[in-house]
Symmetry: C2
Subunit: 417 residues, 2 copies
């Protein structure tokens, strides 16, 4: 059997797919694993309890359970869900959005696959148009999504070191040239992998640039506000007709319901519905039905603000304190300011080897992290910083995170320059 | 905002998407609608009861509910589900399949999108390779899936009229030339839209041809055995290393769980897992967790054979008898032999206009059907039969199906040549 050229591209396992295989194999043979590598959200008991109660309500509400599982929703999503979310967004933020501005997909990953398919690549005149990522490092899950290489271009970020052992990336707005070959801008906010949250002024600048050029600005808001609220800075959620905002139910604790959400101008929503119809037929209903009443009554905002946000915030703070405790005096390091998302991003400033070597050594000791080089796709120039960072998921069991960090410190010390 | 060339292709609404929009608009303004147009499976009370009981069991089983919703499964699917299904298939049919031969996708539609992406289109040498559909008409949901036109080619079927008002399509094996430009063969069995079930000898011939050429044969078994069992002929389910078998939980009454299944040789499963990781990250867990114990204990076979199959069989028989009752003496018609799936396929042999005109008239009277021309994609020659057939979903409320058929007879009579 021979695959198509594009089929070969998608299965080449050059980057993160190879890493996933490698991890899978590693996990087979190890006794104790400190799993700081994945993207699974934490199990928060109070939140899980709410989903359980909702399912009991659905089972008790006449034939609601049967309608949830046995009826196809349309390719735009479940009507009641679209209306409830539009109502909340317009009431709470004053955005001019109705149900016609929202599309649901089988997970946020699919939503971005659709967006890149829709905008990046050759246009009808045969000209290659690319998606620009203004802030690198950026979410690795985008990297392999285009059907061909060369559809993505990204820019180095500026590093601001604002206190000892802490830094923050900043968009290099002065050097943000946007050629005619750019089809869209894309950022995640909060950013996976770094925990960065673009400031209001950065977003405002990017939005202006995009609007001036009549380009869409994709903002992947899977960790942000209004839900799940894993964002520790006071920033303004924004939407505008040229902004394509991604959201998700995953980090509310419903990742296996595969519910991604896009808020955008009507022509984009129509296009996404078409792609969904062609590629997926319909959206999964379970996540939508579970959350609809909580969108309607605003409960989802309370859950995000009062339960999920503080839960992650204290977890992040603890992990940061353990990093300082174990790294201080042993390793020359800095950690990205923890502004949101479920990851910490550690920068080793003075290893004598690339972090891929650290990753291998950690794996042998059962500590699974993601080496940072995969998050630097689309860069046209070399940047040694690419080989100096790792991502850890701080949301897992505390004793594992603490011990995992201790082992990282030990191994990094051995590799220190 | 400008879309890419491929984005424009997916949103051009030339075929079935335009029909879906048209239907959506039509449904707004009509009083009473006889919905014979969609693909929603019937609500079967005894089956719905089983899914309800399963959810109650999951809620009662410690933290199973939490693990179902709050943990990402891998891109190949849920481990317990893969093992249970592989066990059933190998025990029941003697197929040499293990969990490594099964991949789960977010619905069968996505599975076929992956397969077409994987095999059809330019190969690494730049040569265009196509998917061949040996039996036309074929499932409309494939038609728009390739990223470019020209990736599909199909063959006219032979029409066997074996009794009054009944016919069956047959693969024209004598004229099944397979050029070097063919990358795969694809059939649905039972066939959507016709209710045709390819005979064992047809499948055997297609399988041999594919094996000889080292090509995969895709068999879309969404309605077939072992589940959901909506197949009224005694035929042998087949699998082989070059056969890529599609299955689904949708017609078990779980369409909104979006669970598609592929059984194939290991390299194909690895490739599908990669595509799933890149495009969708993970599979939805709900349908998998609900059905796993029923796969393990074989209960799914009993449900399919003793509940689902007879339910649809008697529905189909009733609808056929109403067609004969209302059409006889008024319209020159034939119906495809009802061998499986949830549709009847009616051939109007002597209308003076294409069925698109009949569709418009029916829509005005609230009767929604699917005009047949959309199921004849990929044909290189003209075939007037293309404009002479409609598909109806016979699984809806009996009074609606009966009255809908009566109205179809009335309108067809007016258009009779």
């Amino acid at each position: 059997m021979r695959f198509s050229r594009i089929g070969e591209k998608y299965t080449s396992k050059s980057g993160i797919l190879a890493l996933m295989d490698d991890l899978g194999a590693a996990l087979q043979g190890t006794d104790k694993v400190y799993m700081l590598g994945g993207g699974n959200p934490a199990h928060i008991p109070q939140v899980n309890e709410i989903w359980r109660r909702r399912m009991e309500e659905i089972l008790a509400a006449g034939d609601e359970f049967e309608r949830m599982l046995a009826n196809y929703d349309g390719p735009q999503g479940n009507k009641a869900f679209l209306e409830a979310l539009a109502g909340m967004l317009s009431e709470r933020y004053g955005w001019a959005v109705g149900p016609e501005n929202i599309a649901v997909t089988n997970g946020s990953q699919s939503a971005f696959y659709y967006l890149f398919t829709l905008f990046a690549g050759q246009d009808s005149a045969g000209k290659l148009r690319k998606v620009l990522f203004p802030l690198t490092p950026e979410y690795v899950g985008y990297a392999d999504q285009p059907s061909e290489a060369g559809f993505f271009v990204s820019r180095r970020s500026v590093i601001d070191e604002f206190e000892e052992h802490r830094f923050k990336y900043r968009v290099d707005l002065d050097n943000l040239e946007i050629g005619d070959d750019i089809a869209a801008l894309c950022v995640s906010r909060p950013t996976n992998p770094t925990g960065n949250v673009l400031t209001d002024s950065e977003i405002s600048a990017l939005s202006s640039v995009a609007a001036d050029r009549e380009l869409p600005l994709f903002i992947d808001n899977a960790y942000g506000v209004p839900f799940p609220g894993i964002i520790f800075e006071e920033v303004k959620p924004v939407w505008d007709r040229h902004i394509i905002l991604g959201m998700s139910l995953s980090k509310l604790g419903l990742p296996a319901s595969r519910t991604g959400i896009i808020v955008a101008d009507v022509p984009v929503i129509d296009a996404l519905s078409s792609l969904n119809a062609v590629m997926s037929l319909a959206t999964g209903s379970v996540g939508q039905v579970i959350t609809t009443p909580l969108l309607k009554n605003g409960e989802i905002l309370r859950i995000s603000k009062d339960i999920i946000r503080p839960y992650y915030k204290q977890k992040a703070n603890k992990a940061l304190s353990w990093i300082d405790e174990f790294f201080e005096g042993r390793v020359d390091y800095s950690v990205h300011k923890s502004e949101g998302a479920i990851f910490l991003w550690i920068w080793f400033k003075n290893l004598r080897v690339p972090v891929s070597e650290l990753y291998e050594r950690l794996k042998k000791r059962g500590v699974i992290v993601v080496p940072g080089q995969f998050f630097f796709y689309g860069l046209e120039e070399e940047w040694e910083h690419r080989n100096q960072c790792i991502r850890i998921n701080y949301g897992q069991a505390e004793e594992d995170v603490r011990r995992g960090i201790e082992i990282i410190a030990e191994e990094a010390q051995k590799l220190h320059g």
